[in-house]
């Protein structure tokens, strides 16, 4: 009994330690986002804001009036909101295309016998391993020639290149788990190959599809190197890249509060998406299909 209590206490302590370790920076960012400009510039800051203010949020999102009574600087909020729109658009399109292509490719790899199957998988893996930075130069040159520089497709295409392999590998594993008889049963029941795929295989692979979607979305949402190298205006710049332009008027006094606020704002959608999709990723969805 006593060792039981000890184990529980130990687990709790370890749990708290890890939580503090992981969440302290997040808590710091959130706290920072509620601090005024004067406080972030102070020499010895404290953890919690002395007098919390929503000024940073108002500035970044361009709503309401600051505590000083002035309207927030529209230049900051315009840039940020524009970048947020770019981030959403680019990440969503890249995710959608990536998942659709990956689903079809993975199904073919899992189900069909064709020459060069292993080659396709190995090359896909090799591409996933490729360092992003090494492609920046060539892509920069190519995109300028193709007039893709500083456009949405200019980012969507390289994002798909890097996320497709991972998505294909994830989905192939999921498709292999689905008993082939499921599909044969559908065909005997009168389904065409396409109907069997759409009505039986895809619903069963849903957890895999959502996993692949989340991974792709994260990559596109967080990516920085390509986003800053292949864009030049807020016409297609995404939030991570845009944040590096938050320098403020005084080069010795960066607007830490606004940076922190922008970080909080871009983190929220990610958390919401994870929580939403988490419900979809129901493990053991295939249980009961065949004798367990």
């Amino acid at each position: 009994m006593q060792s039981d209590t000890k184990t529980k206490a130990g687990t709790a302590v370890g749990f708290v330690l890890i939580l503090v370790w992981c969440l302290l920076p997040v808590a710091w960012i959130i706290s920072l986002s509620f601090k005024g400009a004067a406080e972030t510039a102070a020499g010895s800051p404290q953890f919690l804001p002395k007098d919390p203010t929503l000024d940073n949020y108002k500035t970044v999102l361009g709503v309401g009036n600051l505590s000083s009574g002035d309207a927030p600087d529209p230049a900051v909020s315009d840039d940020f909101l524009r970048a947020l729109l770019n981030s959403f658009g680019i990440a969503l399109v890249a995710t959608l295309l990536s998942v659709v292509f990956a689903t079809l490719a993975a199904y073919a790899i899992a189900r069909l016998e064709f020459r060069g199957k292993r080659l396709v998988l190995s090359i896909a893996l090799a591409i996933a391993m490729f360092p992003v930075v090494s492609l920046v130069g060539p892509l920069f040159d190519m995109w300028r020639t193709f007039h893709l520089f500083n456009t949405w497709p200019g980012l969507i295409i390289p994002y798909m290149t890097f996320t497709l392999p991972l998505a294909i590998w994830t989905l192939t594993a999921f498709f292999r788990e689905i008993p082939w008889e499921m599909e044969q049963a559908a065909q005997v029941d009168g389904a065409t190959s396409w109907q069997a795929f759409r009505k039986v295989i895809v619903p069963l692979a849903a957890p895999g599809v959502f996993t692949a979607a989340i991974l792709t979305f994260f990559f596109a949402w967080n990516e920085f190197v390509l986003a800053i190298s292949l864009t030049s205006t807020t016409g297609s710049r995404t939030v991570p890249a845009q944040l590096s332009f938050f320098v403020g008027p005084d080069p010795f006094n960066p607007p830490y509060g606004q940076l922190a606020t922008a970080s909080v704002v871009v983190t929220v959608p990610i958390i919401v998406i994870v929580l939403l999709f988490q419900r979809k990723i129901v493990a053991g969805l295939t249980s009961g299909a065949v004798k367990g």
Binding site: D189, T286, A289, K291
Partner: protein, 399 residues
């Protein structure tokens, strides 16, 4: 509803191995046909060729009058129950059963009527809104059958549907399938490796070994007139005993003594040298319990090694030595049957009242009229009654 005709069906895989080799079977309209054999005999491959999940290398597959070789599964209008049921886990029981109807684009009212009909038949009404994952093995089995019977298919195909159930449930479902088939009167092809299922369910049974059809006959014909050693060893439990034998006049010399057989049988086996005699365990009896008039002639005395008393009957085991020639053939047979016999022994089924004890020298009577004699080289049954043996492909027509 339709007859299914297989003409010289061959299935060859990429490496040239013929999984099914020149098999011809005709399943009459409304007939219950069993495909049986040990694992790897090609029975499932044959079934999958009927339904269209495997390509046919050569031969003709006819459903009704239609040649279906090149038709996709969905164009053949057959219903199949898979070994592991293959239910759709993301759909409710109702939608699982309705799946083929929805694909056929039936109206909701029609779908509802047919699904309720099927669920009434299979007593699934209370489970209609549940997911397959929450059902027991027997219930899943019934859902799989519901999905098959709900549409007006030309035939049912079963691929070892009971092999995943426990023994008790298997017996119940077996009766259920038989009842359902009789009631619907629909052509059925049923694959199994279980000879009990084969004997009890089938109107006719096709026994397969390594892709070759061995015998196609009614269960009774298979049991009483097996065409060759393989069929004889496969059908019946405990299996038929095989003993080295030579025929002299009307006498068959067995390791334990001589047994008199009918003249007609003796004549067919005359002059063939060393043979294999096949005697079913139940054609022996404790001599003291056999009817008086039958006792004459064919009794022998042997030392009983092990006795298993089951109440209604007793199994006695009597070890014997056999010559190498016969031993080799029997070992090969054992391999074909997926078995692993350690020693050559005689299994004798005696009346439960028998008092024979282990280690005792027992007087055993054998029914000489029921002995079969097999050619050790070809395995062919020399004493088969061709009138009552169905079809035995490959056998030489005896004079």
């Amino acid at each position: 509803m339709a007859a299914i005709t297989m003409k010289n069906i061959v299935k060859q895989y990429g490496d040239g191995f013929p999984a099914v080799n020149d098999v011809s079977i005709d399943v009459a309209d409304g007939e219950f046909m069993i495909l049986v054999g040990p694992s790897g005999c090609g029975k499932s491959t044959l079934l999958r060729m009927i339904v269209g999940l495997e390509d046919i290398t050569s031969g003709d597959m006819l459903i009704g009058d239609r040649r279906v070789n090149d038709l996709a599964p969905r164009e053949r209008n057959l219903a199949m129950v898979f070994q592991n049921y293959a239910l759709y886990p993301h759909l409710t029981v109702y939608e699982n059963i309705a799946f083929p109807l929805r694909l056929a684009k039936m109206s909701d009212d029609e779908v509802d009527r047919l699904v309720r009909d099927a669920s009434d038949t299979l007593e699934l009404n209370e489970h209609l809104e549940r997911k397959p994952g929450n059902l027991s093995g027997g219930q899943r089995q019934r859902v799989a059958m519901g999905r098959a019977i709900v549409r007006q298919a030309d035939a049912f195909l079963f691929d070892e549907p009971l092999s995943n159930l426990d023994a008790k449930l298997r017996g119940q479902m077996r009766t259920e399938i038989a009842r359902l088939q009789k009631r619907l009167g629909i052509t059925t092809v049923y694959v199994t490796h279980d000879q009990t299922e084969a004997m009890t369910l089938g109107d006719r049974v096709a026994v397969l070994k390594r892709g070759l059809l061995q015998q196609l006959a009614t269960p009774r014909e298979l049991y009483e007139n097996p065409g060759n050693l393989f069929v004889a060893g496969f059908i019946g439990s405990p299996p038929m005993n095989f003993l080295p034998a030579t025929v002299e006049g009307n006498q068959v010399k067995l390791p334990f003594g001589s047994v008199e057989i009918p003249a007609e049988k003796a004549e067919r086996a005359a002059g063939k040298g060393l043979l294999i005699a096949g005697i079913r365990p139940e054609h022996f009896e404790d001599a003291s319990l056999a009817a008086e008039d039958r006792r004459a002639g064919s009794t022998f005395s042997a030392k009983v090694d092990v006795v298993e008393w089951l109440g209604n009957e007793t199994y006695a085991y009597i070890p014997f030595e056999s010559p190498d020639e016969v031993k080799q053939q029997l070992q090969q047979l054992e391999k074909d049957l997926d078995g692993e016999a350690m020693r050559t022994q005689l299994v004798v089924s005696l009346d439960g009242a028998s008092r024979i004890a282990e280690g005792q020298d027992a007087e055993i009577w054998v029914d000489g009229r029921r002995i079969h004699l097999f050619d050790p080289a070809t395995g062919e049954n020399l004493t088969v009654d061709r009138e009552r043996a169905g079809r035995i492909p490959g056998a030489k027509v005896s004079a």
